[in-house]
């Protein structure tokens, strides 16, 4: 990430008392001088000292009062794109509007942008003056390293007008959230013969040429998309650029099942079983959609299995962005519930961290030779303090894969240090589509 001038401010790792002293040294000196001057004035009976004492007290009162009055009329707003991909840089705009009758001076905007767990420095932007009724804005870039849905962090505005002492500050909650899509890994296009990748622009061009796609809904315009895709009537209604989302009308070629049960989750951050599964699903989904192949997506939602039928790109990505290890079902239970949701003639890809027993193959709803297993080795990701079910054993993953392969299906395991791209490409070679 690009380093910004504001980033040089080192984080303050002082104790609470020394931190307070460092932060308020000016104020402490000012109050100390005032309190020290008064007894001297009393003892020496020098009127000027009373006056200077009064000046210092007045200065303190003005310094405390004025910024707080100014801040009453300040309204900051943060503007972010609603959706981004993890790791990508995006622009954040922070606007401050002065709704008061008088000019506002010496404002310092503090923004953490997002409530992420990353230890990001606070962005501070200074404004020497914002005229009455005027708006000033600053822009900076940010990025989020992990997919998810992040609530916007509040903004804090500090005002140190007029003398720089006792700066007043006010926090402003920001409604809204930022959806961060998982990053899809690029896969080789030659894996699927007879099927060329199709881009958004082509989809739009086909739409304009009369080839019909299934209309799915309207979504906000993403930067980088062709201008032709903008749906102007919707844009006029919404007041912002909108595009239409289409679904490729073909039938689903594959069922992708993602086992997001909490039982076998291990690891942290990017090295987490769920993150690996989500990334694999995203990569696969993006690849299939770019080759005009649709799929159904199954996942656990509490103690039920939910199916997303032939989703469009952004709907699929959003679902993955919001994916949590909230499932309560074992793989066997999940397969049991999925009987009615999947077609027996369609290949089924199961992405799971669970060490399924060879008997699990028997509970499959259709022929084992149409079943593909991607086993994420949870034992590889386990961290101190984390627990897996008692029978967890790394060797079982391989033995299960062998069982699957011997029954005509395909199974492979993904370890912590494995390259998921290679494994995915191997898998795609096996897929009948």
């Amino acid at each position: 990430m690009k380093t910004l001038p504001g980033d040089h401010i080192p984080p303050r790792n002082h104790s609470a008392a020394s931190g307070f002293l460092r932060e308020h040294i000016d104020e402490i000196v000012l109050v100390g001088m005032m309190l020290g001057l008064y007894p001297i004035a009393v003892n020496t009976q020098i009127g000027w000292l009373y006056l200077l004492c009064g000046v210092l007290l007045a200065l303190i009162i003005v310094s405390i009062t004025v910024p707080r009055i100014i801040l009453k009329h300040i309204m900051p707003v943060k503007i972010l794109p609603p959706r981004v991909f993890e790791g990508d840089q995006f622009q954040v705009t922070a606007e401050i509007t002065n709704r008061g009758k008088y000019n506002a001076y010496f404002l310092l905007l503090k923004d953490k942008s997002l409530n992420t767990e990353d230890k990001k420095p606070e962005r501070t932007a200074g404004f020497d003056m914002i005229s009455a009724g005027d708006t000033s804005s600053v822009h900076y870039t940010d990025s989020v390293s992990l997919r998810g849905v992040y609530p916007l962090a509040g903004l804090k505005v500090e005002c140190s007008y007029p003398f720089g002492f006792f700066p007043g500050s006010r926090s402003f909650q920001q409604d809204g959230e930022l959806v961060v899509y998982p990053h899809a890994l690029p896969l080789s296009h030659g894996l699927i013969r007879g099927s060329e990748p199709i881009h958004s622009a082509q989809r739009s061009a086909r739409h304009l040429a009369g080839q019909s796609f299934d209309f799915m809904g309207i979504r906000e315009y993403q930067s980088g998309e062709p201008m032709k895709m903008i749906h102007w009537p919707s844009t006029a209604r919404a007041g912002k650029l909108m595009v239409k989302e289409f679904r490729i009308p073909s039938r689903a070629a594959l069922d992708i099942m993602l086992d997001n049960s909490y039982l076998w989750q291990a690891g942290r951050g990017h090295k987490n079983t769920l993150e690996i599964m989500v990334r694999i699903a995203a990569s696969l989904g993006e690849f299939l959609l770019s080759h005009q192949l649709s799929f159904n997506f199954l996942y656990q939602d509490g103690d039920t299995v939910t199916r997303l039928q032939t989703p469009g790109r952004f709907i699929f990505l959003e679902k993955l962005a919001r994916m949590q290890s909230s499932g309560k079902l074992s793989l066997e239970e999940m397969l049991g519930q999925s009987q009615k949701l999947i077609s027996k003639s369609r290949p089924l890809l199961i992405i799971t961290p669970e060490q399924a027993s060879p008997e699990t193959i028997l509970s499959l709803p259709h022929s084992p030779n149409l079943t593909y297993f991607l086993l994420i080795k949870a034992t590889d990701f386990i961290l101190p303090g984390q627990k897996l079910p008692q029978d967890a054993d790394e060797k079982k993953y391989d033995s299960f894969c062998r069982s699957v392969n011997s029954s005509g299906g395909y199974g492979c395991s993904v370890g912590k240090d494995d390259n998921p791209v290679k494994i995915l490409e191997r898998l795609l070679e096996k897929l009948p589509c």
């Binding site: 910004l4 001038p5 504001g6 980033d7 401010i9 000016d26 000196v29 001088m33 001057l37 009393v42 003892n43 020496t44 009976q45 020098i46 009127g47 000027w48 000292l49 009373y50 006056l51 200077l52 004492c53 009064g54 000046v55 007290l57 007045a58 200065l59 009162i61 003005v62 004025v66 309204m75 509007t97 709704r99 001076y105 010496f106 310092l108 962005r123 501070t124 932007a125 200074g126 404004f127 020497d128 003056m129 000033s136 600053v138 900076y140 140190s160 007008y161 007029p162 003398f163 720089g164 209309f215 102007w232 009537p233 919707s234 006029a236 209604r237 007041g239």
Partner: protein, 738 residues
């Protein structure tokens, strides 16, 4: 270790201050602080070095702001050590007034520090030191001209603080501060905020309580002068020759700047008005009469002291404990009372004075810039040299209070034996004796008789400075009481002294200064030449010498009765009372007295009429207030919200409806606000309208007053709505393809 120190000295600051304007403004503030301090002294030799050195230092700082200044810092440290030693040396020379050494030290520190100011933090330290210099200057200042420095300094420092804040914002921000604040605008801003701060400072200054001070010893005094040129004799530069009592009665010498009472002979035929020139400034815990000398012999035309010389009184180290000189019978003088209280006074001589040490009676401890003083038989103090301008001395006097009703009739025979001079009277006319006897008849104690004589004079004779000279060979008391019947303080004091003596009460005439005028800014009592005064000291058995002032217009009991307000708020109130309230009340009273008398029937109804008037006035005030706050009144507009915030929400919604109605989009009475909003969903202003409708609906039907955030959101939506409404309406929406 040395390597560590060298590395520390070689460290470069993290953030360099680049603003030249900021540096110039700070330099101006610093120079103002330096000048404010230096101007209180007679421009000491270091002045030019400090001023030029500081300016040069700022230039050096700017030029070397990003460089390794280790050598420079080493030199500066050496300079600071030298300044510290110099201060210690000076402090030993003047242990009773450390202000000058401290001022010198700060001046040198300020000058040395100016050579190493790379960052904002250093410039802020510079401002802080300049403030301390301003404080030191304030302690040295004697007059109101210091206000000029204070105002200038306040403007410059506030501008410096502005630049400092801008610099801080810049250092914290990742964005570039736009720099819309030009020096001119900053100057205007500082004037505005200073006006606000000054107004508030004034209020605080007036209300700030002022407790009795001078609790810390020692008290200030000038550097000790080892000089004795008077040998205990009175030395008055304005009256160098001792006038003879037999000459010059008609044309007695008079110097308007010097009181003729500070002399070996007080000629009662001297005429003239003393000038308003400030001669002394006094800082005291309690204002009182400052006694210079006393006279015990009256020759019918003037006063003189029977003992011209005084006895030496010395001390190795200040303070000098004041006591009667050897040869004075002390057994007659009562010792200290438990009820005695201290009066601390610090005197600053503003103009050359005779070698009289003025202080409140009775002096106890004296911090004087000499190890030797002289004291006369009446505890009058003399300096061994003339009091030149700039001499500072302090005195702690003892004030005696007593209960007059507990005094008993006194037999003065023993006292007369030791002090016959206090009973001396010339040949008096019978009418003077008769008058005095008549005034004091039947009164049991000497105190009662003294007070009776004093009150008689105060009540029956006016004060007049413009009387003609008394005729030659006319005894002054007789002529004053029965012929002239008016006079000035010396005539009143002479008359009372002689009248007291004529009825056997020991008395003497004292001269000195009245408390002067209090200046709340400097806290000094400013004593002018015209404040020179004469009063009477009477010996009261069991109490001692007590002061009485028979001159009308002055306080009766100078020893205990002087009360002057020093709290500025009370001073202001007293001034308003005497100059505004009382004259205004008098004028109203006069105007009312000119009105025809009120008819009887109206007089009966006055309470009822007053009640109605007050009720109507209160109602009007309430309506105006509610209107101003935009709170709808239930009896004017039907039931409405009583809360101010809710009122604002209603008002904005009403405005929104009106604005829409003007464009032909009127809400039908049967439609709810929500339905009305839904009907306009294809309009470009739907977003703010949606927000306005939502907040209004919540405020109207939820029963809760909206919070400040909602009000701000409503205001924001209203602003946006107005903006969008002014735009051309969007084209009708296309039909969706689906």
């Amino acid at each position: 270790m040395l390597g560590l120190i060298w590395r520390k000295l070689s460290e470069k600051p993290e953030v360099i201050e680049e603003s030249v304007t900021f540096r110039i403004i700070v330099l101006a503030s610093v120079l103002c602080g330096i000048l404010a301090t230096l101007s209180q002294e007679e421009w000491p030799k270091i002045s030019i070095f400090v001023i030029a050195g500081t300016i040069f230092g700022y230039w050096v700082s700017w030029k070397r702001k990003g460089m390794n200044n280790a050598w420079l810092k080493l030199l500066l440290t050496a300079g600071a050590v030298w300044a510290g030693f110099d201060t210690v040396n000076n402090t030993f020379r003047t242990p009773y007034d450390p202000r000058i050494p401290i001022a010198n030290l700060l001046l040198w520190f300020q000058c040395l520090h100016s050579y190493d100011l790379p960052s904002r933090k250093d410039l802020n330290y510079s401002i802080m030191v300049s403030f301390v210099l301003i404080v030191i200057g304030a302690t040295l200042s004697h007059n109101v001209y210091y206000l000029f420095f204070l105002i200038t300094y306040t403007i410059l420092v506030s501008m410096s603080l502005y630049y400092s804040t801008i610099s801080r914002l810049g250092s914290l921000s990742f964005n570039k501060i736009k720099g819309r604040l030009t020096p001119g605008r900053i100057f205007k801003m500082s004037i505005t905020t200073i006006a606000l701060t000054a107004a508030l400072s004034g209020v605080i200054f007036f209300l700030m309580p002022r407790f009795t001070g001078f609790k810390i010893r020692p008290l200030p005094m000038s550097w000790i002068i080892h000089l004795d040129i008077t040998l205990g004799k009175l030395m008055n530069p304005a009256y160098p020759e001792n006038p003879d009592d037999s000459t010059g009665r008609l044309n007695a010498r008079f110097d308007k700047d010097n009181y003729f009472g500070f002399n070996t002979y007080l000629n009662l035929n001297a005429r003239g008005r003393l000038s308003k020139e400030v001669v002394l400034r006094v800082r005291t815990t309690k204002p009182s009469y400052y006694r210079g000398m006393s006279f015990d012999y009256y020759d019918g035309y003037g006063w003189k002291n029977t003992r011209e010389t005084a006895s030496p009184l010395s001390s190795g180290m200040p303070p000098i404990t004041v006591d009667y000189p050897p040869g004075v019978e002390k057994s007659m003088v009562p010792q200290d009372f438990p009820s005695d209280s201290e009066i601390v006074q610090v005197f600053y001589v503003e103009r050359e004075q005779p070698n009289i040490i003025f202080c409140a009676f009775k002096p106890h401890l004296l911090y004087f810039p000499s190890n030797l003083i002289y004291v006369d038989n009446d505890l009058g103090l003399r300096s061994p040299f003339k009091l030149e301008k700039g001499v500072i001395y302090s005195c702690i006097s003892v004030e005696r209070s007593f209960e007059p009703s507990r005094l008993r009739p006194t037999d003065y025979r023993a006292f007369r034996y030791f002090y016959p001079q206090y009973f001396q009277v010339p040949e008096l006319s019978d009418r003077v004796r008769t008058l005095t006897t008549g005034i004091t008849r039947g009164l049991p104690t000497a105190y009662d008789r003294t007070v009776a004589i004093m009150n008689y004079l105060r009540e029956n004779y006016p004060y007049d400075l413009d009387i003609p000279p008394f005729p030659p060979n006319k005894e002054v008391v007789d002529y004053f009481l029965f012929e002239q019947k008016r006079g000035y303080c010396e005539h009143f004091a002479t008359a009372m002294t002689v009248m007291c003596r004529s009825v056997g009460i020991p008395a003497r005439l004292a001269t000195g200064f009245t408390p002067g005028e209090y200046n709340p800014f400097t806290s000094y009592y400013e004593i002018r030449s015209e404040h020179a005064h004469a009063w009477v000291e009477v010996f009261i058995s069991g109490v001692g010498w007590m002061s009485f002032d028979p001159t009308p217009g002055w306080t009766q009991f100078p020893g205990t009765g002087v009360r002057k307000e020093t709290w500025p708020a009370a001073i202001l109130f007293n001034w308003l009372k005497s100059n505004v309230f009382i004259p205004a009340a008098q004028k109203i009273k006069n105007a009312v007295s000119m009105l025809p008398p009120m008819p009887d029937f109206m007089k009966k109804e006055v309470p009822a009429i007053s009640a109605i008037v007050i009720f109507i006035a209160g109602l009007v005030v309430l309506i105006v207030y509610l209107k101003k706050k935009k709170i709808p009144l239930p009896f004017f507009k039907g039931a409405g919200p009583q809360d101010i915030k809710t009122g604002r929400v209603f008002e904005i919604y009403r405005k929104t409806e009106k604005a829409l109605a003007r464009r032909g989009l009127k809400r039908a009475p049967c439609r709810t606000p929500k339905e009305f909003r839904d009907s306009l969903s294809d309009r470009p202003f739907i977003e703010p309208l949606d927000e306005i409708t939502g907040i209004f609906t919540e405020a109207r039907y939820s029963g809760r007053a909206p919070g400040s955030e909602k009000i701000m959101a409503m205001e924001a939506a209203w602003a946006k709505f107005k903006k969008l409404l002014k735009l051309k309406p969007a084209a009708p929406a296309e039909k969706d393809p689906d």
